[in-house]
Symmetry: C2
Subunit: 331 residues, 2 copies
Amino acid sequence: MTMIPEEISTSIQDAESVILLTHVHPDGDAVGSMLGCAGILKSLGKKVFCYLEEPVPYLYRFLPDCETVNSSLTELSSFVNENKNVIGISLDCGDCDRLGKNKDIFLRIEPFLVIDHHRSHKDFGMHRWVDPDRSSTGEMVYELALHLQAGISYNCAYNLYVAISTDTGSFRYDSTTSRTLRIAADLLDIGVCPDEISDYIHNNFTLERIRLLEMVLGTLSLHAYNQLAVIHVTGKMFEKSGALPEDVEGFVDFPRSITSVKIAAFVKEGKDGSISVSLRAKGEHDVAEIAKAFGGGGHRNAAGFSFTDKTAEQVHQIVTDELTRMFERSS
Amino acid sequence: MTMIPEEISTSIQDAESVILLTHVHPDGDAVGSMLGCAGILKSLGKKVFCYLEEPVPYLYRFLPDCETVNSSLTELSSFVNENKNVIGISLDCGDCDRLGKNKDIFLRIEPFLVIDHHRSHKDFGMHRWVDPDRSSTGEMVYELALHLQAGISYNCAYNLYVAISTDTGSFRYDSTTSRTLRIAADLLDIGVCPDEISDYIHNNFTLERIRLLEMVLGTLSLHAYNQLAVIHVTGKMFEKSGALPEDVEGFVDFPRSITSVKIAAFVKEGKDGSISVSLRAKGEHDVAEIAKAFGGGGHRNAAGFSFTDKTAEQVHQIVTDELTRMFERSS
């Protein structure tokens, strides 16, 4: 087992009450590791306040105890006033700016601990446990539980399993290690059913999403000897299908799934008419560099940038032209 | 560890040469467990002949050592004549009819061993290790290797990982146990990269497949208060898209992924104009019973049946009408 920084475990052991925070636009690892950590801390007799600026996204409302997540700053302030030895823990947040618009309030909590696995993590907080070799923050919270000799309830195991399985794409990403799989095995031994969780995550879509997918697949174009695939979605398609902005989650995986494709681009028209572009790379291609040239950023395999005053169709063409030229230069 | 029947391990230990067989239309578990088992037996100094009636499907040609699979009965017969103590092992085959058109030749091999995990397994062969609580035959072959104290090479681990991960839908199906995940962890420790294998399995599709998917999604209809979803594919769609019959693999998961859907049906027109229907159920619905009423069969969650002298559109309507009535009766 990895050594957990002593300041982290001592601070938690000494605390009577804990405020848990995670990043805005939370994903499965953010919500799952927060709720999992809350369960562990409660089993140790601590009072816990899970704060999230926005409501839990509908995709993750199936998580047990998710109704305990609170968005009220007034109630947060009462929690601080009514309890002693209050500490703060930020989970799965790689940058304090992503704690949301009230980050300055949170960062004043002392001690403020940080548990995170992002490779691009920008240090903040008083004590940090940052390990980019971990598949997920859920994995780290599980080991924190073992370290603190805390009980892991069924709900807690469920939340940590969601955290780990979503952040590893069902154990498919290269961040998945044998340790990840052994932790997942321990969680199954506590009673978690992988098929039940998978149904919530992978079979929980709307008809509108399928209708939108059909339209978006109709925009697919291939270029540069089929190494580049581009798709787009327009405001009109959202209107016609009745789908929501979050329904396009995962659409970029379709062009990416074509054998010959090295880079897939997904051009999205937002509600305000602005255009965002998501790039996904396979193999050695670095889309962070490409995104930078367009004024954006991201990771080597996944990056993005945005446009204003252009239509989705125009940006589809611009991205096609620029990336085709890039492939021609590099060939 | 589960007890492996003594006749199985003794027969293998005593053999000098082994013929490995699996079911026709082989999936990842069939090819992966066969190649994995071949590697294990070779590490024990045995001569091995992997027989398959048809060539390895293109989806699984990335498996290491897959070029050793042989479809020649003449060469199989030479192998029998040139070697001593030849035994046969059938892997992942639930019914001797699925050994293919030469099954009678194989079943004469003595001893003929059977290793399988199908719940619907129909006994055949001389000695059997059949365990329906296993996620995959790959999982059983791994434990056979431990039991026989055989070496597990990288190639062997790779093949067994493909077997296990494909047969559990990336560890999502309810057949996935903590033992499954711990075995997968052991295989990662041998050097297997889950993202590399996942790319071959999930990002190895053709443009033609995406074009066909778009057409098939256009046929989606929902019925019985959105509990029933039906899609179909016609010969014309195959023609227009240029896709192959195997490209529809996984299409039924799209209607199945809609939250409200309890039963998804996929109507497929074959090359000869015959129509086959795949049914997939979520939750408590039993599609094996429905398939039986249409003269077909299968499992509780996945079943099928076929039609002749009808078009795909007609069968789409028949299935819709019949299943809607069924939902009405049960409500």
